[in-house]
């Protein structure tokens, strides 16, 4: 069996390669199959991710953190009353419960509203929403920003209803993405210009994998600000608007 395992020089090579990616590369084999150690490591990661899916968002804590930034914060619920319903009924996760009364007094004429939802990883939103908003606000000075809305059990499209209720031209939804084994805390940012009844996913722009080990807060804020400005200038979002912010950062072809 030892003949099938990478030999010592390769061990150190794979160790150095694993610093370049979280991917499970250079795993030890027994024949064609995984050796016991990587097999059990995978099983542990899956068990932890399963546990993370069922964790709940601490809305009070997040409200306090956002409040410390000096922005107004509103708490609402989607029509999905619990986690299991949220998982099985995406339609309910796109609808507000009886929250119009919470939002109505704050309706106005805003350029954008930030909507923060637990989605499939409360851990992601809990960890990354406040730091990202901290970085994005100075980058869009002059924008009229609505109160931040924290949603329990919300899907991306619930931002459309919230933007309409508050009178915001653009919905920016920060939401926990489905947890992966190596990244249980990825957050996505979905931007939609003037969302309406007929808005579809093709009308949204997305920055995914926002977390310190993925797309960091500064990078995400840069892209977000770039896309928001482009959206406002051109009056569109989605596939009609390419994310060409990399040209500014790394130089294009």
């Amino acid at each position: 069996m030892s003949g099938d395992l990478p030999d010592a020089p390769d061990d150190s090579l794979w160790a150095s390669l694993r610093r370049l990616t979280a991917a499970r590369i250079g795993l030890q084999r027994s024949g064609a199959s995984l050796a016991t150690a990587p097999l059990l490591a995978f099983r542990l990661a899956h068990a932890q991710a399963r546990d993370a899916v069922h964790a709940e968002l601490d809305m009070a804590k997040l409200t306090n953190e956002l409040g410390d930034l000096g922005v107004a914060v509103l708490n609402v619920d989607s029509a999905a009353t619990d986690k299991q319903t949220y998982l099985m009924r995406p339609d309910l996760g796109r609808q507000l419960s009886s929250s119009e009364s919470t939002l109505a007094p704050h309706a106005g004429d805003y350029d954008a509203v930030f909507v923060v939802s637990d989605g499939l990883s409360a851990l992601a939103t809990q960890s990354h929403a406040a730091p990202l908003i901290t970085q994005i606000l100075p980058a869009i000075k002059g924008w009229r920003i609505a109160p931040v809305v924290i949603v329990r059990h919300g899907r991306v499209a619930i931002g459309d209803a919230i933007a309409r209720a508050l009178g915001a031209a653009c919905a920016v939804v920060l939401i926990g993405e489905r947890p992966g084994l190596s990244a249980p805390d990825s957050m996505g940012a979905y931007m939609t210009w003037q969302p309406g009844e007929h808005t579809s996913d093709a009308d949204r722009n997305c920055i995914s994998n926002i977390r310190p080990a993925g797309v960091g807060y500064a990078d995400a804020a840069f892209k977000l600000a770039h896309l928001l400005n482009a959206m406002r200038k051109r009056g569109v979002s989605g596939v009609a608007l390419k994310d060409d912010s990399d040209r500014l950062q790394i130089g294009g072809p």
Binding site: F42, D201, G214
Partner: protein
Amino acid sequence: MYAATVGARRYVFADLKTLMAKATPARSGDALAGLVAETGEERVAAQFALADLPLSTFLNEVVVPYESDEVTRLIIDSHDVRAFSAVSHLTVGGLRDYLLADERTAEGLAALAPGLTPEMAAAISKISRLQDLMVMAAKCSVVTKFRNTIGLPGRLAVRLQPNHPTDDARGIAASILDGLLLGAGDAVIGINPATDSPERTHALLSMLDEIRSKFEIPTQSCVLAHVTTTLDLIRQGSPVDLTFQSIAGTQAANKSFGIDLALLKEAHHATLSLKRGSVGDNVMYFETGQGSALSANAHHGVDQQTLEARAYAVARQFRPLLVNTVVGFIGPEYLYDGKQITRAGLEDHFCGKLLGLPMGVDVCYTNHAEADQDDADALLALLTAAGVNFVMGVPGADDVMLGYQSTSFHDALAMRDLLHKKPAPEFEAWLQRQGLVDTSNRIRPQTMPSHFRALLPGAA
């Protein structure tokens, strides 16, 4: 109106799409859409009625209106009456028996394919067991070519999927190296980019092309960006082997993906004009998955498996190299658990193959679905036995960018060994030249070939 009588009870189904939905084996997405049979008996009653349905019904009654849906128009307008004539007298149940009969050959089924509509294929699958789906699919042979030959009997190709959360070139190269050493990459080396930016996509395409050229790998590369991004990059001279796009079975669902048939046609022609294939000119790579139309609120009251089959009508119009149903990616609201994912994977593979497509399956699940590696192992083995053209190869089965579990390089290797499958022939010869194959003709890298270290700028 359609009906079946079970004992003293008569079950009535208002129209074809209702009959199809009620006859569908249980899955959460159809329940979400409010389309499922109310009892087990109603489901089987619908299957009896469906089995007795003459195939010609599908040419006279459509499930999505012809006038408002270009996918329906494509299905009806491109139907090959001459090919259909061999089975035009049969019912759905009769066609199942016909397909299972010993007389059916790969050549005969390939000739029949243009005569069958997606709805006919879906109907057969609804009354079939998993075993039937495997046996019928295994009779089909769909061979496609670009820089190698995929889908030959006794072969199992692997898409090398080296995704990285920030598209880091060195991280991606490290995963490619791992996959190549373990015999993956003959279907395609295909990256899902973390963002859809043209600059990033161009940089990744250039990197993949450089690796392929430097190591003279007889395979193709792809960056799975939106078709409009790839089309722009083709015009700007980026090295595009295959154009990728996610597709669905209704015009409205495709619109939610930002595409229509005209755009796909334009992309197909643009990609063909590059003439980069060495052994063939299948240049499109499509991905599908049950539930995408419902997810886009574009399902027209049709069950998700029938709509998935309709996506294959879109695919076959463009002679793709690869069609991949990403079966467990969408989540438990569409396919709840391992049992539902397993059935859907075999249905999709069968329907695609019967309609003449080079089907691969991303055997996968998300962390919010009721599934684990045991479910993935079972479906992968069933598909390999059924002759699936290709599967995914992800390092350690854990996609660190998309956040889901697919199949690993090791999984594919174990299946090749267990069920005696070889890589695409051109790629197999390349693996032998690299010294990655042992004396028993198994892929068993003993140590890193020294020239592979050139793949690792600044790392080794």
